[in-house]
Homo-oligomer: 479 residues x 2
């Protein structure tokens, strides 16, 4: 029974060592496995099923806004990567290079895509001719490679899965609208499906994407008070179009450059799910993203009628649109409870001979361990309602945690004190100079997370230099 033991063994407490707790959950909830490929992980069925749900849900939302899926090559010839100056500077130091194909040295080396702006631009330059071809709203689901030195499951690995949307528009206004639209898709997905509250805002010039005019971001706060950038949307203006010659003929038969955007969300958000909702018993999955929402655990499953009743409940739940399953393995109910808690299954239903006698079942929530007893005949109503309540509670709990870990700093001394002692978001005014941003990072180890859309005037002067303040900024330590 070595395998079972491992699962119910206590994991490292999150208060004791958050980083180790995180890794323990990744491994013991069976989300990932380590591989012989340095810096790369294997995503196991329980982890990949979460990604499949994320993908399906996001893909549906993208398509509702007119986006179409395509597939571009995974290789970028060096000369193509170099066409946009800022972009190559940002990415060249961290790419993997293919230098041999088959038995021969390549005449030009190819990098494995770290992101595909250059490939889409090269494609659009051939594909777009007239204003009737616009907008182009393309997206691809793929993996990308960035040669990170230190890696952690989901949060930072040399290869990761993501989607990257790349659009081309006739006007700057349309491109800006699309950039904001996709940020809003990410924000509502994170909040409504993953139950992760986010701050929407813009990155400072220092933190924006290599080659972008403007980078929008959604920032979330993890349980340990660190921030996680959870999705970004970039407005490129016509910078890439000029570098790659992406032009179209307008209604007046004039050649014009297109305006472009790109936007991405990655397997990192699985890391966010773990670090926002997880607890010392393991993973906690919001019902809307959980591959299995309800696990039915038969008690004394060999007793007459128990499995039949469990299957009856399963059928009723499936009919009600609930993703349910029965754990009919030969383990004890206690083992099963612990396993399912580790795996984050939102709700379990216990059903044994005594329950059947009373025509009832015991429902136990993963999030707060709340127990209720419900009539078996009512489960197809009770259970979906309870799942919705769990979903809502998880969001409220995460939001309360974030709000209670968001601090306002009015001057540098207060800023320093918060940064040193209180993990969380720090809101403080900024003059707009990168010098102050650099100093804050160097002195206090926090970076600007975003200039939030919802501004508040905390004080009139920059928290760092004392000059007149331009913007309120969210600061924090980040993953």
């Amino acid at each position: 029974m070595a395998k079972e033991k491992k699962l119910v063994e206590a994991i490292t407490s999150m208060d004791e060592d958050f980083a180790r707790w995180y890794t323990d959950v990744c491994v013991k909830a069976d989300l990932i496995g380590y591989t012989s490929v340095k810096g790369c992980m294997a995503i196991k069925p329980a982890g990949f099923a979460i990604w499949e749900n994320i993908k399906n849900e996001l893909d549906r939302r993208f398509k509702e806004t007119g986006v179409q899926n395509v597939y571009m090559p995974m290789f970028i010839p060096e000369s193509l990567l170099e066409k946009e100056k800022d972009h190559v500077e940002g990415f060249a130091p961290e790419v993997a290079w293919v230098t041999r194909g088959g038995l021969e040295e390549l005449p030009e080396r190819l990098c494995v895509r770290p992101t595909s702006e250059t490939l889409f631009c090269d494609f659009y330059a051939k594909d777009i001719h007239s204003h009737r071809d616009l907008p182009r709203l393309y997206n691809q689901w793929c993996s990308v490679v960035r040669w990170e030195k230190t890696t952690r499951p989901f949060l930072r690995s040399r290869e990761f899965l993501w989607q990257e949307g790349h659009t081309a528009h006739a006007t700057a206004k349309e491109a800006e609208e699309r950039t904001v639209m996709m940020l809003n898709v990410y924000a509502s997905f994170l909040e409504d499906v993953l139950a992760i509250p986010v701050i929407k805002g813009r990155k400072t010039d220092k933190e924006k994407f290599a080659g972008a005019e403007e980078t929008y971001t959604v920032e979330a706060l993890m349980h340990d008070g660190k921030a996680l950038q959870s999705g970004t949307s970039h407005n490129f203006g016509d910078g890439f179009a000029r570098a790659f010659g992406v032009q179209y003929t307008d209604q007046n038969n004039q050649l014009q450059y297109v305006y472009q955007t790109s936007w991405g969300m990655t397997t990192r958000v699985i890391g966010a799910l773990i670090m926002v909702h997880g607890d010392n018993s393991g993973l906690v999955l919001p019902p809307r993203i959980a591959p299995t929402q309800v696990m039915i655990v038969p008690i004394r499953q060999n007793a007459e009628g128990v499995m039949e009743k469990a299957r009856e409940i399963l059928d009723a739940l499936k009919k009600a649109g609930v993703r349910a399953a029965i754990d009919d393995s030969e383990k004890s109910p206690g083992w099963k409870f612990s396993e399912q808690e580790m795996r984050g299954i939102p709700l379990r239903i216990e059903i044994g001979p005594k329950d059947i006698e009373k025509e009832q079942a015991v429902l136990v929530r993963r999030d707060n361990r709340g127990k209720t007893v419900a009539a078996i005949g009512d489960l197809s109503g009770t259970v979906p309602a309870l799942l919705e309540d769990i979903q809502k509670s998880l969001f409220e709990k995460a939001k309360a945690h974030r709000d209670s870990h968001t601090y306002d700093a009015h001057d540098y001394a207060e800023f320093k004190e918060i940064a040193d002692t209180k993990p969380g978001f720090i809101r403080a005014m900024w003059c707009g100079d990168q010098a102050c941003e650099d100093k804050i990072k160097e002195d206090l180890g926090v970076t600007s997370r975003c200039i939030p859309n919802e501004q508040e005037r905390i004080s009139d002067v920059c928290v760092c230099c004392g000059k007149p303040a331009k913007k309120m900024v969210y600061w924090g330590k980040a993953y």
Copy 2:
């Protein structure tokens, strides 16, 4: 109107130049675009939507047999690739090598996966402990790279999309059953969904997968009489397990090696779709795989009530589960007809003021251009029935074509004559010696496609050497 013109321009006739006809269809049906990355194509929305449907349909069928999706790294360290002797010999000459990561030379070069047996074995060696962990039924959807010298859209490109299933079992019997089961999944998918009739069989030793004990294949015949291997399923026995040390503890507490399989289907099948069903007007898509099954073309769309009626029909069809759309662009109906024919949309519905008066619509099939008139009120019944009939007709037509292009050769002279003059499958007896297979390939330019499950005794002796025959074999020129 340059863009429209291009679409309805005549493509190369398939009888004149089949290879050029094929490429014309790929480009003019908007399936692919050329890129600056040699040997790699861009899959455009119309092409990728077909792949999405293939993927969804296959994935559902895999999951019904208990398969789970995972994701393994895209890189294979050279030492890992080298662990199984036959496998490395088969693949090493055609892989792409990453030799630099970031700014540094790698201590060990990594190949971009050409297939992932080695990664799965490495993973299973750590992941499988006991007989309770078996079977493992994993699959991944990804892209792979093989450094081909000459490439063609979908049929042969340096990077292609596919799924690769990798399973581990306690017994040789179970592994064999799984190998056959997945071949049957491919066969029924190809026949029932893509309307492509297939021959199921085994590869000869010469043609089997590098490292496999047995390779099963489904072979299809293209319109030009060439064969296309459309899916393969491999039984590895315990060969890889021994090379990688994949062992489990059995019920008697003894260490045993696992038995493994792998099976794959690729974007090649889109090439098969084109070459089996296409005609001189372009692509012809079977309804079950077509992203858009029905295109509604309003005639005199600005006349009162026409668009309203078109939308009414659209709603009724969608409710009936039909993937329908309206072409309300400002092109003439004639242009629209040609465009949709090029794109292979199975059925079009023409609806104009005169039709509306008579409460009818005109239905035109893509496959045989058959025209019927149907009452508007009945469309939610008429259309699905018609789509089913198109699906069936396409399969029957392809089967009739294949059967009429399958020839029996009783002796070498006849074999040679058929190979020289009649494109198609050739059935002939074989003694089982690779020498004969080699000679046939060299002399006649045909290869063994498979040893079909359904054997017939055409003669008693090998068509090549005259020794006693062991098996009837399908031979042919292949893509």
